[in-house]
Amino acid sequence: MEFETIVFYALAVATVIPAFGVMMAKDIVRVAFWLLASLSGVAGLFIMLDADFLGVTQVLVYIGGILVLILFGIMMTHRDPVLVSADDDRRRSPFTGLLVSLMTFGALMGVILGTGWNVSGGLANGKLSGEPTAAPLGKALLTDYVLPFEIVSVLLLVVLCGAAYIARRGKDEEASNA
């Protein structure tokens, strides 16, 4: 077995097993940590596929940003961080969920394997170039894709204004109640 294949399966296991953990864990803090492991595995897969920038972004945004946000959210809101209560488990049969997910999996796999993907460049002959992607991506973002880049800036401005407004609103209400 080639070295690459071994690394791939190692990363795949490191992604899938924590994903089961996310599904099974009942404590939301544990879910968050399982998610951390799973997302790290995905970052490794990205890097293996020569998408080094995407891999680093995955670490920065998902692991660094979103997970920390989830943990902060738990710390600030819930005192009892339990995701599902025992009653919920009894009412729901696991088989329906299993059936739906297996059907989705089957349909997706069938479609993915049966499709002629339009692969170009280094991927077409099964070899990766090994070139770093951050530089060309950065160049593209500020030349060819400068308009989408600026639209995203406006979008983030809207998000910032909206978040500030909604958060301030809650504070005002508390102040008027007190």
Partner: protein, 473 residues
């Protein structure tokens, strides 16, 4: 991809004007005490954007930013429509937001930036700008729906809208990424070329991607079966916001759908025709039937908007340029008639919120009852109003494409929905008033309603003014 040059900035001048005005309003938000300053600023920016979009097109149609957006007659038509909707909604907001506690400047900033999103969406010829434009619209819309502080229903509507719309956006993004994976390009014309060249028209994955993108867009324009958020969001939002969602957002969504249908996935795709016919038939039927049961005016206008989106989509089922042009005409006239109707609802205040409030309005305020009657006739599709012209062009384009059953359904549903519009007319003209005479409308509101009424009347008598201008991409 040819890269972007500084000269391209001139081609997005309308968007730059609106964004600039929004930034100025953010900076001075804390210093503005009067309610009229942001309104005047927004109307001026909208007028400048209309002038700019005319100036930009004085040269021939061209693409900008390396083919990410285009500046053509189609984009100009919808940009003018979006700017008009923005200006009218800003005028409606003067009375519509009275006592709601919504921050004036921030509210107008969001209106302006949502309009920027609409303008980018209507000129997008690439999946990237198309998606980002739509997201900018919806992000502003979430906050606008939830902007009224003191109403819990507004918060609830905003959260529901946010959850459902995020889901729809995710579905659409999934469809876009599959399309990219299959065709290797994000530009609409590139997608069309790749589909034709590689024979992907019947590829199951391509069909799935098409369905996902269509579902996302159907959600944005509120077509059945992706309509469930519409009545709740309109009812929870303050009335001018509901008017904005019903006018500008729908027009931009329809414009985007038109470009995707005509350019990217091609008129020859049978699957696309089936999807569009289904969306149109379901929206028209469900909207027209459910509107009958409504007594709350905002919900009534919401279900009416669902039915009207169905009619507008009918134009696209033909997949031809004439059909797309019919949809453009429909969107144009619908924006003005629905803004007019929302304007009357806003003007009547609490009384205008329910059907009963319209009892005996004609004997108290004949002028108001008269314009409301005009908008109701237009929404029904009675000749000599723009509503008739709009329905005529889309139904004849559906007949031209061979969808006779769909056309018959549309005519039947328009008769069915006439019951509810005429019920309001009967209440206004044939009942004795039960509530005191409503106060006079403020000037801003009267101006907005008058503009909407003039477009509705002139469009009904001289439709060629608009239909000649509505040229498909």
């Amino acid at each position: 991809m040819n890269g972007a040059t500084v000269a391209d900035l001139g081609l997005v001048l309308p968007e730059l004007i609106l964004t600039g005005m929004a930034l100025v309003l953010i900076l001075v938000a804390r210093r503005i005490q009067s309610t009229s300053v942001p309104v005047v600023a927004t109307v001026l920016a909208a007028a400048a954007a209309v002038a700019a979009s005319w100036w930009v097109l004085s040269k021939e149609p061209q693409s900008a930013f390396g083919g990410l957006i285009t500046v053509d007659g189609y984009a100009q038509f919808f940009k003018v429509l979006v700017a008009a909707a923005l200006a009218l909604v800003a005028l409606l907001s003067v009375k519509g937001l009275e006592g709601s506690g919504a921050p004036r400047s921030e509210y107008h900033v969001l209106l302006l930036l949502a309009s920027v999103g609409m303008m980018l969406t209507v000129s997008a010829v690439d999946m990237v700008t198309f998606y980002l434009g739509l997201e900018l619209i919806t992000l502003c819309s979430y906050i606008l729906v939830g902007i009224t502080v003191d109403r819990p229903s507004s918060n609830e509507a905003a959260i529901k809208y946010f959850l459902l719309a995020s889901f729809a956006s995710a579905l659409m993004l999934f469809g876009i990424s599959i399309t990219y994976g299959l065709t290797g390009t994000t530009s609409f014309s590139g997608v069309a070329a790749s589909i034709a060249e590689r024979g992907l028209a019947d590829d199951p994955l391509q069909l799935a991607a098409l369905a996902l993108i269509a579902a996302g867009l159907a959600f944005k324009i509120g077509a059945v079966p992706f309509h469930s958020w519409v009545p709740d969001a309109y009812q929870g939002a303050s009335t001018p916001v509901a008017a904005f969602l019903a006018s500008g957002s729908k027009a931009a969504g329809l414009a985007a759908l038109g470009r995707v249908v005509v350019i990217a996935f091609g008129p020859d795709s049978p699957a696309l025709s089936i999807i569009l016919v289904g969306l149109a038939a379901l929206s028209v039927a469900v909207g027209s039937v459910l509107v009958l049961a409504q007594t709350d005016m905002k919900r009534l206008l919401a279900y009416s908007s669902i039915a009207h989106v169905g009619y507008a989509v009918m134009g696209l089922t033909a997949g031809t340029d004439a059909g797309a042009s019919a949809t453009m005409t429909y969107a144009f006239f619908y924006v003005f008639m629905t803004l007019g109707a929302f304007g009357v609802v806003i003007g009547l205040g609490a009384r205008g919120a329910t059907l009963d409030g319209y009892q005996g309005l004609a004997s108290q305020r004949p002028g108001v009852a008269g314009v409301m009657l005009l908008f109701l006739l237009a929404l029904t599709g009675i000749p000599l109003t723009s509503g008739f012209v709009a329905k005529f062009v889309v139904i004849s384009s559906a007949v031209g494409a061979g969808y006779v059953v769909l056309a018959v359904l549309a005519v039947v549903c328009s008769v069915v929905s006439a019951f509810v519009y005429m019920r309001i007319a009967v209440l206004m003209y044939m009942r004795e008033p039960e509530s005191p005479t409503p106060a006079r409308f403020p000037v801003t509101l009267s101006v907005a309603i008058a503009i909407a009424a003039i477009v509705t009347l002139v469009g009904g008598v001289l439709p060629r003014l608009i239909t000649d201008w509505a040229v498909a991409p």
